[in-house]
Amino acid sequence: MSTALAISNLTKTYDNGFQALKGIDLNVEHGDFFALLGPNGAGKSTAIGIISSLVNKSAGTVKVYGNDLDTELSAVKSYIGLVPQEFNFNIFEPLVEILVNQAGYYGINRREAFEHADVLLHKLGLFDKRREIARNLSGGMKRRLMIARALVHKPQLLILDEPTAGVDIEIRHTMWEFLQKINSEGTTIILTTHYLEEAEKLCKNIAIIDQGRIIENTSMKQLLSQLNAETFILDLQDPLDKAPLANGYPIILKDATTLEVLVDKPQDVNALFTQLSQQNIQVISMRNKMNRLEELFMNLLKQER
């Protein structure tokens, strides 16, 4: 398996002295669906900016499919497709022109570019709007246009910086399916997102960045296995006056018909239900208080600070 992205000791200090990246190391293998997570201002966008050559690095090396950013910039750029966080297309241009122009910057002739643009616009549900100017699109359509534009030159490494921000759940699911499909076809994907269920659902490996440092870099499976306790919310059939007692399970009465229970990893929930049942408490539904990854993410950040 070849390495799609290799980052070593990457550092960025802005002119005002702010150190956005403090020597990060990161490897992303070919074919991976990789999550790069972190709170706002952690350094994710700076790292992406450097990889895509929009931000000048202060130190360190970046290699994309073995090509060095410093010495083989043109090759590095040709491997990458970027979906930035902000809309950055010309809002006065028709969709098809935005895509064809982008292809042209990669040396793809117009006839071929038009054909490929049409295929992508079809796949992303934008074909009917191909002659409309981008300003007329809805937020979700604009996000999909950005993905289409990033893919128009058939990049091997697709970098998505919060691609589903502000997108409704239905479109988000459609985008997830699309991204999973292109990943299964061989495109390596790096994703940053604040929707942690998105990262958990899509990504195979993960790095968490905070205050310019990588604080976790492992497989999604491995990370989730570190979760040693989960908080569940139980909805009850009948109201209660006070929290019931259950041996080994701390329970909080959130309101008359809602309980919050902390379950440690070795414990099972059957024993909890047995104890509740013995007290004639009927549970009608149960859910996680937080997404599992969200819980881990918050724990890791707390530990670091």
């Binding site: 929009l54 750029k77 010309n90």
Partner: protein, 257 residues
């Protein structure tokens, strides 16, 4: 990036730029046509008839080359500065910056767009001038060369303005306070022989004077300036501005963090 692919990238930027200004032709091509028509009517016909001949030509014939060149100068400059700054403002310049397109191709693409607009508007103004006077070209090759070099020069100047601009105010300051005065004082409406000696000397520091006179020579065969000096100065400016633009682009001034 291979040369053939670079040519595709150049063609893409050029087509994009031409489509941009032709799509909004009411804002880009029509206004200079109307303004120049007014110049022809007011300065050429009404006032010009009172002035009489200049260097052996009617005043209308004398000012036509300068007015054509003024249209080329302002439009090639305006096209590049507004397009490049607009791309920076909307951040769609990043589309090019993340691609393997070399910086000199990006520069040539924008300059090509400016040259195209300058030449199209210059052509429209030339056609309008034919309504007011007979225009015969004294030296076709010189005329073509000066048109091309002037359009390139001011496209490059517009590009540099676009790189440094941080707001829409910044893209109108140079045209208003530098370009317009230099153009009007560049011998479009008069020969510098009419000026007192001191102002003749001062005028020689104005680069636009050399372009206007070289172009006027190409059209009607008269010039206040030595042609070889004029062409050398224009080429010198083109080389200097191209190098400066490319340096700024390579450094990422105003476009990379």
């Amino acid at each position: 990036m291979k040369l053939q692919l670079q040519f595709v990238a150049f063609k893409t930027i050029l087509i994009k730029e031409i489509l941009r200004f032709t799509r909004i032709w009411v804002q880009t091509v029509l206004p200079p046509a109307i303004t120049t028509t007014l110049y022809f009517i007011i300065f050429g016909n009404l006032i010009g008839s009172q002035i009489g001949d200049m260097d052996g030509f009617s005043y209308m014939e004398y000012i036509v080359p300068g007015l054509i060149l003024m249209a080329i100068i302002t439009n090639s400059y305006a096209n590049v500065v507004s397009s490049f700054y607009g791309s920076k403002f909307q951040k769609n310049i990043e589309e090019m910056l993340i691609s393997p397109t070399p910086n000199y191709i990006i520069l040539l693409g924008f300059v090509g767009g400016g040259v195209a607009r300058g030449i199209i508007v210059g052509g429209v103004v030339t056609i309008i001038s034919l309504v007011f006077t007979d225009l015969s070209i004294h030296n076709f090759y010189l005329t073509t060369l000066i048109v091309f070099l002037t359009a390139v020069l001011f496209s490059l100047a517009g590009f540099i303005n676009g790189i440094y601009a941080k707001s829409f105010d910044d893209i109108s300051i140079v045209p208003t306070f530098v370009l317009t005065p230099l153009t009007y004082l560049g011998g479009i409406f008069y020969t510098i022989d009419m000026l007192p000696e001191i102002w003749q000397t001062v005028s020689l520091a104005n680069p636009i004077l050399y372009m206007v006179n070289a172009f006027r020579y190409g059209i009607i065969g008269v010039s206040d300036i030595n042609l070889a000096v004029a062409i050398t100065i224009i080429i010198g400016f083109v080389v200097a501005l191209f190098s400066w633009s490319l340096y700024l682009l390579n450094k990422g001034v105003g476009i990379r963090t």
